[in-house]
């Protein structure tokens, strides 16, 4: 894991409509297993093919909170402070099956500043799509509050 200290954006310099640098993550089954271990989430639907098939899914699904964790990392990276995201919530409108084929899936994170709240807070809208920027949304976080310094 690379540890970087980037120059932090300033509240004064950001206007609504600003789009953060997006990012695409490749997610394989092993990443789900790793997240499940780290998060103490042992739900079989995230790793067991037999259970997934019995539930009508093509393969086990990514943890919603794994997807959210990836998205939040895009925000903390931009803010330069892992403590900057002070309020966030999201829905998982689609499940993300992750085949155990050594290839997995791609998740693309997009984030836009929607509104400047009382300094130093910004409201962002964040979405994660399955595949590229034209893929279906698997996570929407319309009210994500980032406190800059």
């Amino acid at each position: 894991m690379t540890v970087e200290t980037a120059a932090r954006p300033r509240y004064e310099d950001i206007e609504p409509g600003f789009r953060l640098p997006g990012r695409t993550f490749r997610v394989e089954r092993k990443d789900l297993v790793r997240y499940g271990g780290a998060a103490c989430d042992y739900n079989v639907i995230h790793w067991d093919d037999r259970t997934a098939v019995a539930m009508g899914l093509p393969s086990p699904i990514a943890h919603g909170m794994f997807t959210m964790g990836l998205a939040l990392g895009v925000l903390t990276d931009w803010a330069g402070d892992a403590g900057a995201v002070v309020d966030f919530g999201g829905r998982f409108p689609r499940l993300v099956p992750v085949p155990n084929d050594g290839v997995g899936v791609e998740l693309t994170v997009e984030a836009t500043v929607m509104e400047k709240l009382e300094p130093p807070r910004l409201r962002l809208s964040v979405a994660v799509r399955l595949g590229g920027s034209d893929g279906g949304k698997v996570l929407t976080m319309p009210r994500t509050i980032v406190a800059l310094r």
Binding site: M1, M55, L72, G89
Partner: protein, 152 residues
């Protein structure tokens, strides 16, 4: 499900001590690269007492606490072992840092039914050892009642 359980508050969980290596393990899993999660000096430079947890870290504590609540026999949820997350929110008072000793208090905020499946919403409050409020989570899970049922 027993709607009379809505509002029920479960006893606080056993204290959970947040360790540096647990934070780093979690940060690696979600590919969190911010130095405040990895390096004590970088965290202190930002004014934190020690390395801080990535924003979604409270899930490590709340999931188990809420999972236990789903199994409350008084609630009577069907087939509690099959559930999928539908929504999650966390609102922070301050970041979680290494050395925090946290307890979780779970409250059943709502029950619902969607397409024949039970839906439960919990509000979980994380409190530090000195009583300071750290953050509050709100989680919604869909519990799949039927064997072989479609999760959609």
């Amino acid at each position: 499900m027993n709607e009379g359980c809505v509002g029920k508050v479960y006893p606080p969980t056993a204290p959970y001590e947040v360790g540096r290596e647990k934070i780093r393990e979690f940060a690696a899993a979600v590919r969190e690269g911010n130095a405040a999660c990895w390096d004590t000096e970088a965290a202190r430079a930002l004014g934190y007492p020690d390395i801080i947890a990535p924003p979604s870290f409270p899930m490590v504590l709340t999931l188990e606490a809420e999972h236990d609540a789903v199994h409350d026999p008084e609630l009577g949820a069907a087939n509690q072992n099959r559930f999928v997350h539908r929504e999650q929110r966390f609102a922070y008072n301050r970041p979680i840092h290494a050395g925090d000793v946290l307890t979780v208090t779970v409250r059943l905020a709502g029950v619902d039914s969607v397409a024949g499946n039970d839906v439960v919403t919990y509000e979980s409050t994380l409190t530090a050892a000195d009583g300071e409020h750290v953050c509050t989570g709100r989680s919604t899970f869909v519990i799949f009642g039927q064997e072989g049922g479609d999760v959609r």
